[in-house]
Symmetry: C2
């Protein structure tokens, strides 16, 4: 998605260790018009599959996921970080997710009643790097017996293994901007195939 790549290049900043900051328009302040076009692009790319639920994880995936769910006309479910106290343990699917940014591990939970084996689930998230969060969501969908329709990612760090790990499992991953590398000068280089809109 060329508009997204342009915004990342112009307004994103980088830091050592492969860090890409898009706080100004994507995950702290959000440009809702861009978010809406991002959602439209996900809806277009996954228009060939059946989707009965959109699934994301709190917090920064929610803005994109609700707009995708609105366009497709299906419910959104967002996985909660931590075990939900208000539901019994047998009432939730859980997965364990390592956070490389924060250096810890946390549990994500989804109430069982909101994903059933008849569902076909589209997973949406803002970033894919090591792939831990997306893998946790895929695991939850598999626990439910539902179909993993696909994974839609706003920014994939192509130099980290998350995308490859998911695709190697046969999961369809559509990333709107794939960063192949960050130069020593801090410039962001996109993978060629993601520059074709």
């Amino acid at each position: 998605m060329l508009e997204l790549q342009r915004r990342i290049r112009e307004q994103g900043t980088t830091a050592p260790g492969g860090v890409i900051r898009v706080d100004s328009f994507l995950n702290h302040q959000i440009d809702p018009l861009l978010a809406d076009r991002i959602a439209g692009e996900f809806a277009r790319r996954f228009s060939d599959i059946r989707v009965t639920r959109v699934l994301t994880i709190e917090a920064s995936g929610i803005a994109f996921a609700v707009l995708v769910a609105l366009k497709i006309g299906v419910p959104l479910v967002f996985a909660k970080k931590g075990r939900s106290r208000s539901l019994g343990d047998d009432a939730v699917y859980t997965a364990s997710v390592r956070s490389f940014t924060r250096g810890d591990e946390f549990t994500v939970s989804v109430a069982r009643k909101y994903i059933s084996k008849d569902d076909s689930v589209l997973i949406i998230d803002d970033f894919l790097a090591m792939g831990e969060a997306a893998q946790g969501l895929v695991d939850i969908v598999r626990q439910s017996g539902a179909n993993v329709g696909g994974v839609g990612i706003v920014i994939e760090k192509g130099f980290q293994p998350g995308g490859r790990k998911l695709r190697n499992q046969g999961v369809r991953v559509e990333s709107l901007a794939v960063v192949s590398r960050i130069t020593d000068q801090g410039d962001i280089v996109f993978r060629d195939n993601s520059t074709i809109d």
Copy 2:
């Protein structure tokens, strides 16, 4: 907002201690069509004021806030729970928020560069009960020198003091459904003036 009250009455559940659960359509699974109409109602109610930023707090306020921001055509900023490691302490506004549900206290942060004294901020959140989260957001807007245009709440627990505390400070609070009490049978009773759509 009558549609919202009907959904709360039909699909919400209650528990002792004034707990209202709306997991099935509002804050774990979200009906995006209802969320969009909720956002439209906020945009309508606040159409008489200048709004340059929508502000919410992660996580469950984001879905409504991004839809409001999209309708008004201004950026959304969502406050992060915890201190952001990626920003220096002097780069953020912070407020301390007590959580009565969880029995702890946490810090909410907003990067200073995303709210300035020239802004007029519309605060959006899903629930207003003790008012701690909304008060934290109001405090952050005041730290920035910006105008608090108003606070839009999906469900206000009118039997808890948050709404009164904010209104006593001269803050305009618009709640789409105000629950005045929960009966001993667990029925949800709405405040009269909120039944007029």
